[in-house]
Symmetry: C2
Subunit: 152 residues, 2 copies
DNA sequence: ATAGATGCAAACACTTTGCATGGAC
DNA sequence: GTCCATGCAAAGTGTTTGCATCTAT
């Protein structure tokens, strides 16, 4: 499934919203950037492009993109939320390097299956989940303290 | 393993810190409350007890308790962090009801094992993880929208 | 005695909101 | 023309920090 501005327009229509220039700019930049981008990054990037968008508008647009299921929002505890394209991409979870901030995606269907089992066991209806593993990535091994895994 | 103020004192000593009255009050209240408590809850509870502790001190004490491995910190996306006793309790992860805010703990060693496999695969050294499933608890089923699981 | 702790208020960082103006439909 | 969107600045929220005072050791 191709995810582009056309898809965005379509989703906006479904909600009776307008496709404005600022919204096109935010969505476009988000799509072209890929990766895990924060609101401030977007504001800065758009400003540098000579097409500044007000911070309120950026936040409001991100809320729409998230609410439409086009983008996922993640909080890696860095004090700000980051966004990544969701539609048209397979689901995955993340490893986060506490040393360099690298975000590594992983897919493990067996974990997903066990999750279903857990929710069933608790008569719980899952809507979404967040599974993050924090530690040291391959390149930051040397900075890791000599300790075993602690859970949180 | 019994976790009490004595353990706290011991951990403080190890770091060259003092066991002061405010710290005893915060740790004591946290231990007696159980559950998942936020900084503001503590401040309010202590104030009501007639033993108020400054907000800065509460936050600073929570940081120590967390850093000493006595308490875990969780963010369920409610805008504030919550704390729960960690030492002397088995590790677990959480289901969070987006309707009533209920926090349900679950243990699933098979998921933990698969996690290890994932980190090994990526040459990643895990320090801790956060696995949360959001949705509707048994009692809030009726409020759940008719939709399949969405991931985030 | 002295290094560390307290508590107030001010500072912070991220995000949201009120409101007058502007633009999509 | 109507209703929604924008953008500024101000407000909000949870948390952290500077600093003079106090206290456990």
């Amino acid at each position: 499934m191709k995810v582009d501005l056309g898809t965005f327009q379509e989703r906006l229509r479904q909600r009776g919203l307008k496709l404005t220039k600022p919204r096109r700019l935010v969505a476009g930049k988000l799509l072209s950037t890929g990766g895990h981008v924060a609101a401030d990054d977007l504001i800065e990037l758009l400003r540098r492009d000579g097409t500044p968008v007000g911070r309120a508008t950026v936040y409001r647009t991100l809320a729409i993109l998230r609410g439409s299921g086009l983008f996922d929002e993640h909080d890696f505890g860095s004090g700000h939320k980051v966004y990544e394209r969701a539609l048209g991409r397979p689901h995955h979870d993340h490893l986060f390097c506490v040393s360099c901030g690298a975000v590594i995606e992983f897919r493990e269907p067996r974990i997903e299956r066990l999750q279903d089992e857990v929710t069933r066991r608790h008569h719980f209806t899952a809507m979404y989940h967040s599974h993050k593993i924090f530690g040291y990535c391959r390149r930051c091994q040397s900075k890791a303290p000599q300790r075993v895994e602690r859970h949180a």
